[in-house]
């Protein structure tokens, strides 16, 4: 075999090797940086003032829904949980959480829906519905300024599964989440600064969307961008990715409802 051929084959081998190993370290905590820090002053101002932050429109809805009796049980969230400002303080910063009954992770949206089914005899709410966004925004607001803390002892396997997805090259463009958000953050993808991709502000108001959206919507956007097959809302894969990302952002302050470009 000629050296040239050999070199080509070796290169091929390396692709395979790097795809399998993908072995980079997790983003160190001392390098964590909220996307807020990369935003233009005008966009920051929009997040900072509650009366300028469009996400607060959903919070107002969420507050009303928290108190509204719903389902055939005619029970409001507040009937069991009381004042969310006390009972829900810091809760969203711990989600996805380990759900003992299911023996696995549950997202904030998943918990809201489980509560509706089990305690209110109400229908589940669809991802990205106004109601689910409103309730999750209202709950997430009660964690604003609180550090993200994921139960890594109980969710270790989910975190590991999420990390694998984060590092998997995929799609027609053959990119992994890690390549952009661990290795090239701060660079410009066209005019857009690549963020580290911390989910510390969800649900958030994205100027591009002109509406509030969940982390899973954002993850699906990225998968579409790299021309990859998408994962369904609430799928194991997106929950794993969400859990890993929240763990990766551990210690960072919650900003919900954040504003992002």
């Amino acid at each position: 075999m000629s050296p040239m051929r050999c070199a080509a084959l070796l290169a091929g081998l390396l692709i395979v090797a790097s795809a399998i190993a993908g072995a980079s370290e997790d983003l160190p905590r001392e390098k964590q940086r909220s996307s807020y820090d990369d935003m233009a002053p005008a966009t920051r101002a929009m997040q900072d003032a509650d009366t300028d932050n469009p996400g607060m429109l959903w919070v107002l809805d969420g507050e009303a829904l928290w108190r509204a009796k719903t389902g055939s049980a005619a029970r409001a969230c507040a009937d069991c949980h009381g004042d969310a400002k006390q009972s829900m303080a810091g809760v969203a910063a711990r989600y996805p959480a380990f759900d003992a009954k299911r023996g696995g992770p549950v997202t904030l949206e998943g918990r809201i829906n489980a509560c509706r089914v089990e305690n209110q005899n109400a229908q589940t709410l669809a991802y990205e519905s106004r109601e689910l966004l409103a309730l999750s925004a209202y709950l997430a607001l009660q964690s604003r300024g609180k550090p993200i803390a994921i139960d890594e002892k109980k969710l270790g396997e989910t975190i590991a599964a999420g990390r694998d997805i984060f590092r998997q090259r995929q799609g027609q463009l053959n990119l992994s989440c890690a390549q952009c958000h661990d290795q090239h953050y701060g660079g410009k993808l066209a005019g857009n600064t690549i963020p580290q991709g911390h989910p510390n502000g969800y649900p958030l108001y994205r100027l591009e969307w002109q509406t509030l959206g969940s982390l899973q919507r954002r993850l699906r956007n990225c998968l579409t961008g790299i021309r990859a097959e998408n994962h369904a809302y609430g799928s194991r894969e997106l929950i794993a990715l969400e859990t890993y990302l929240m763990w990766r952002a551990r210690g960072m302050s919650m900003e919900s409802p954040a504003v992002r470009p």
Partner: protein, 163 residues
């Protein structure tokens, strides 16, 4: 030496790398790129003539503030301030914002008067492309003044599926 061309036989490995596997049922990707019809600078001139009734527009007295870095054309913060004492005798009657390349030139038309105290309004607008934005003020003496700014729009890098 040419590389050989063999059918690649990686199906099983690829499947193994599929991570938890299955394609999501019922998934349908729909990429929607909205490319609206664009107005032209001539349409903007027509819109301005409609506002002024053909009167002369002088450059000056109107300050259009748009942050230097517009992060997304779908939500562009802007503020218009007009130099005016805002007294009963000398005030701003109206402030208009028009654009050059949006599907329709008009953005907003505000009516105000001496009770405003200051001639300043702000809003958030959509800009479909990098373009000139013009603010026009109608004064109580019937004169028209304008200020303009060229805005560079950052386009999102990725398209998203419509939900």
């Amino acid at each position: 030496m040419p590389s050989t061309c063999k059918p690649s036989n990686l199906t099983s490995r690829r499947d193994a790398l599929r991570l938890m596997g299955a394609a999501t049922a019922g998934y349908a990707l729909t990429i929607v790129r909205v490319t609206p019809l664009a107005a032209t600078p001539a349409d903007m001139r027509t819109a301005i003539e409609k506002i002024t009734g053909g009167a002369k527009v002088s450059a000056g007295r109107v300050h259009l503030e748009i942050p230097p870095l517009v992060e997304n054309g779908n939500t562009v913060p802007c503020a218009v301030t007009v130099d005016s004492p805002m007294t009963a005798a000398d005030h701003v009657r109206a402030i208009h914002i028009v654009t050059e390349k949006n599907p329709q030139p008009n953005v907003i038309s505000c009516r105000l008067g001496p009770r405003a105290g200051r001639a300043t309004v702000s809003t958030r607008m959509r800009l479909s492309d990098t373009q000139t934005v013009v603010a026009i003020a109608e004064m109580s003496n019937g004169s028209f003044w304008s200020g303009s700014v060229n805005i560079i729009i950052t386009l999102g890098a990725c398209l998203e599926d419509l939900i």
